[in-house]
């Protein structure tokens, strides 16, 4: 099978995560933007989650509903297909990105239109739909504010919820002023960098397009197997515009986005908004079942590597993800590296476990992603469906190919730790050589000593002290205590 495409070509793919991150961390504007944004959203999330006395109960229910669904995914997909079809919709199946893009392009071509409006969707980002449509002569217009900023700026998304999180208001103003005219109605004269003014500019820029475009493309947050209902959560109303006004609606949705029953929404409509935008409820949620209010409706069910992830006993929990991005917002590594360093439309902790599973670990970048974490566990703590991201990271590390020098070092350490006498000998050797350890080390260990001192090696290990004294305190050589 060819490598699963995840919609992110470019420089970030050519190097490993450490090299990408090292570049990003030196960009002080990026650091400032990310720090400000992630800290704002972190606080909002914590406040609205703390309001619910039954948050943990909802979280466990959410986790179990998803696990049960994944276990019975074949059955629920068939049920969904039947329900959507019965409600006048058309269901298509796509094994990979190419197949999904081909289906969508053919559907658009059949309408005779050459322009489509899009609701923000991770699945269509993942398959690179906009580029595929462009190759067929169809222009896809992003309508979510952040996606618009990314599209106008000829940029790549760096966050699941807020793709332009790496941009601040001044940069956004500049992009609007310089680029809006090339895509349609230009930005108002004397545009300021007040977020209100920028939102107003986006409203004016897209208004005419919403009223006239005949085809819309969306993803979905949830699909209900029992009823055939699709659910989209959004804030701005661009989603409602796309879902309501065009004559044809095409929704591209990953197969794991399914929930068995209508009732299950009562759990996820509490978990997702609070985890995602840190609101009690997002401004707009739309649900529709099949062809609605005279609209033609197509559902494209997307695999693109998901069934491969499903086959992994540990890794399959990543398919519970509801794309809330709470793990990104709380991650100290993401906050400093930014989204582009991950070289995938799925950045941050969830990206570090999802990308290598979907795409495999053939490239240096994909092999380095499971290591893009200090295993601090903050992601697991905030995950609304309790994905144990550190567990999956460690599991993927065991499956990755390791560098030879590291393998030898780990084997040597293992050999020493297998026998306490060997450990004691190594400690004594270290104690004797303690004065010869330089403050700055060569080779890979310089990664430590470039910014940090090494601890002093003590003359006597704990076990030698114990042997000498029988653990009688008051006989120390006074090299413990504060350092």
């Amino acid at each position: 099978m060819s490598r699963t495409f995840l919609g992110m070509p470019g420089r970030a793919l050519e190097r490993g995560f450490p090299a990408n991150a090292a570049v990003a961390v030196r960009d002080s504007q990026l650091r400032f933007n990310l720090r400000k944004a992630t800290r704002t959203i972190r606080g909002k999330r914590a406040a609205v989650v703390a309001e619910l006395p039954d948050w943990e109960g909802l979280r466990q229910a959410g986790k179990a509903i998803k696990d049960h669904t994944l276990r019975n995914l074949d059955r629920y997909l068939e049920q969904l297909e039947a329900a959507v079809t019965a409600a006048g919709g058309h269901v298509h199946w796509a094994r990979d990105a190419d197949e999904a893009n081909r289906i969508v392009a053919d559907l658009v071509r059949a309408t005779g239109e050459t322009e489509v409006v899009k609701v923000k969707s991770m699945a269509t980002q993942e398959i690179g739909l906009n580029e595929a449509l462009a190759a067929e002569g169809v222009t896809a217009y992003e309508t979510d504010l952040a996606e618009l900023i990314v599209q106008l700026g000829d940029d790549w998304p760096s966050h699941i919820l807020v793709p332009a999180i790496h941009r601040n208001r001044a940069e956004i103003r500049e992009i609007f002023q310089e680029r809006m005219g090339e895509w349609g109605r230009p930005a108002p004269e004397h545009l300021t960098d007040d977020p209100r003014a920028l939102a107003e500019a986006a409203r004016l820029h897209l208004r005419e397009r919403f009223l006239s475009t005949k085809v819309a493309i969306s993803g979905a947050n949830f699909m209900i197997a029992e009823t055939g209902t699709l659910v989209v959560l959004e804030s701005e109303g661009n989603g409602r515009m796309c879902l309501t006004l065009p004559r044809t609606l095409i929704s591209v949705v990953g197969i794991e986005k399914i929930l068995p029953t209508w009732r299950d929404l009562e759990v996820f409509l509490q978990l997702l908004p609070r985890s995602s935008t840190g609101e009690r409820m997002n401004p707009y949620t739309s649900t529709w079942t099949g062809a609605t209010e005279g609209q033609e409706f197509h559902l494209v069910l997307l695999d693109n590597g998901r069934t491969g992830v499903l086959a992994d006993e540990v890794g399959r929990q990543a398919l519970r993800c509801i794309r809330c991005s709470a793990c990104l917002n709380v991650c100290p590594v993401y906050e400093r590296a930014g989204g582009h360093a991950y070289g995938s439309v799925y950045p941050g902790p969830i990206g570090a476990i999802l990308t290598p599973q979907l795409r495999g670990m053939g490239s240096e970048l994909d092999r380095s992603l499971p290591y893009a974490s200090s295993l601090c566990g903050a992601c697991y703590e905030v995950c609304p469906v309790a994905i144990d991201i550190p567990e999956v990271l460690v599991d993927l590390r065991a499956k990755a190919r390791h560098p030879r020098a590291e393998r030898l070092g780990m084997a040597a350490a293992g050999w020493i730790f297998n026998r306490p006498e060997r450990l004691a000998l190594a400690q004594r050797a270290g104690g004797r050589l303690r004065r010869f350890v330089p403050k700055r080390l060569p080779g890979p260990m310089s990664a430590w000593t470039d910014t940090r001192d090494l601890p002093d090696i003590p003359r006597e290990s704990f076990r030698d002290w114990w042997d000498r004294t029988g653990g009688r305190t008051g006989t120390e050589r006074q090299d413990g205590g504060a350092r």
Binding site: Y371, G377, A398, L423, T451, F462, W465, G481
Partner: protein, 247 residues
Amino acid sequence: MRVALFITCVNDTLFPGTGKATVTLLRRLGVDVAFPRAQTCCGQMHVNTGYREEGVRLARHFAEVFGGYDAVVVPSGSCGAMVREQYPRLAPAATGEVVPKVYELSEFLIDVLGVTDVGAYFPHRVTYHPTCHSLRGLHLGDRPLRLLRNVRGLELVPLPGAEECCGFGGTFAVKNPAISAAMCADKVGNVMATGAEVLCAADNSCLMHIGGTLTRQKTGVKIMHLAEILAATEAAEVTATIERSAP
């Protein structure tokens, strides 16, 4: 009750003072702690770097060494979390019996011995970093803080951004040095903002990381393991130790 000390390879090799302090403290509280000589390493570095087989071997070894004790005390949040979180996945049959008997030091003091005032005296301004594995792995909660608040003479100052990782993460620090150093720089900035003389934690590996930056930047802030502060009883002796190890 037969109590064993699991010193951990990092403490054994680099921070024997923490082990001595743990022994001093436990004996002062009437616990006759044993040190099984065959112990080596919990296997965390191997497992977390992707060398699971070594980790399984070390987990089995741990179970053999500590199987006969009623309680195993570990002065390390991350090694404690390794045993409690990862052993059940790595070697469930071999370690099933020993895992529930493993206690991080503050858990042992508060949950098993039922003490929060250990009779310590440490007249210094101290801030506490609740390392990730202590906080989110073992869920120590405020146990270490309760112990520190009962230390006579000690002024405990809150650490801003306390719950954020220092950027150590074992081999993360050398595999992603730029990000690790940036995280540590922020942690050090927060430590400096407290005006504390001493940074305390229940984990020497994180302290080694933050301390390495504190000394490189010649900040004058000392690092001390929780056990060392709790073991201190005479002001003069501890103050002398601090002065002697100043850079």
